[in-house]
């Protein structure tokens, strides 16, 4: 057990660098010996969190997105944090509008929740948005 190993990555809120976050996530998941499928799931979940921060957090200015990866014995914990305008998690009524200019379909959070084992969103107008996601390693024989 003991302290988890921590890796931190800070990228600007530009679409250009979401792929860099994804690459880092895949490298870390690879080291933890996640399956190929789990690694793909983690890549998507990390990208979705970063994509939202790029698209919604800062409006027209460029802010920071901070990713923290905590490598635990049996799971990977990923925190994606922005200092943007935040949103009301319980009131996303307008995400399914038919506005043709809005590319989002409200799938980002759906994907995170489907692909990870646990997803916690906390967001407020003052302190931006933080999502904490957990992906468990497959249970090993000798742990049972």
């Amino acid at each position: 057990m003991g302290e988890p190993i921590k890796i931190e990555l800070t990228i600007p809120s530009l679409s250009d660098y979401v792929g860099v976050a994804r690459l880092s996530a895949s490298g870390i998941a690879n080291r933890m010996k996640f399956t190929h499928e789990d690694i793909e799931d983690i890549k998507i979940a990390v990208s979705e969190a970063c994509t939202n921060a790029v698209q919604y957090a800062y409006g027209d200015i460029v802010g920071e997105i901070k990713l923290s990866f905590f490598i635990h014995d049996n799971y990977l914990e990923i925190k994606v944090k922005d200092n943007g305008r935040g949103f009301d998690i319980n009131n996303q009524a307008d995400t399914n509008t038919n506005d043709p200019e809005k590319i989002g379909l409200g799938l980002g959070i759906v994907f995170m929740r489907s692909l990870m084992d646990k997803v916690d969103y906390s967001s407020s107008v003052d302190s931006g948005t933080e999502v904490i996601m957990i992906k468990k390693l497959p249970v090993q024989r000798n742990d049972v």
Binding site: S15, V20, L23, E40, S47, C50, I103, L105, F111
Partner: protein, 123 residues
């Protein structure tokens, strides 16, 4: 092609086919939007459109959003459909999770099966 996307458009049996190679994410999706716009301009009465994911290794909600948008457009134009081919199992899973398949588009294993199916449909 890591972190990037190549897009090209061709035609077979009168069906426009968009071939994609690379990753479709928030950075690269405009290339796919542009290709769709190009197809809708060139084929103003298009009934069917194939998107070939054979060399696509990554797609997320931004990519699905663009494809769903294209499906809406082709539906308005001609009640047409978008057909996705050569999706890897992982990408099929993403399509499944999205809940978009069948209401918005078809998934087929490969080009031959897809073209055969589209030909049968129009008979």
């Amino acid at each position: 092609m890591v972190l990037d996307l190549n897009v090209s458009v061709r035609e077979k049996n009168s069906v426009p086919i968009i071939d994609l190679e690379g990753e479709i994410d928030v950075y690269t999706y405009p290339k796919l939007s542009d290709a769709l716009k190009l197809v809708f301009d060139k084929y103003p009465t298009v009934k069917d459109l194939i998107i070939n994911l054979n060399n696509v290794r990554y797609i997320d909600s931004t990519g699905l959003g663009v494809i769903a948008n294209g499906a809406n457009q082709i539906s308005k134009i001609s009640n047409g459909y978008i057909t996705i081919i050569n999706a890897t199992p992982q990408i099929r899973k993403i399509f499944d999770v999205s809940g978009l398949v069948s209401t918005n588009f078809y998934l087929f294993d490969n080009e031959d099966v897809a073209l055969q199916n589209l030909a049968n449909k129009s008979n």
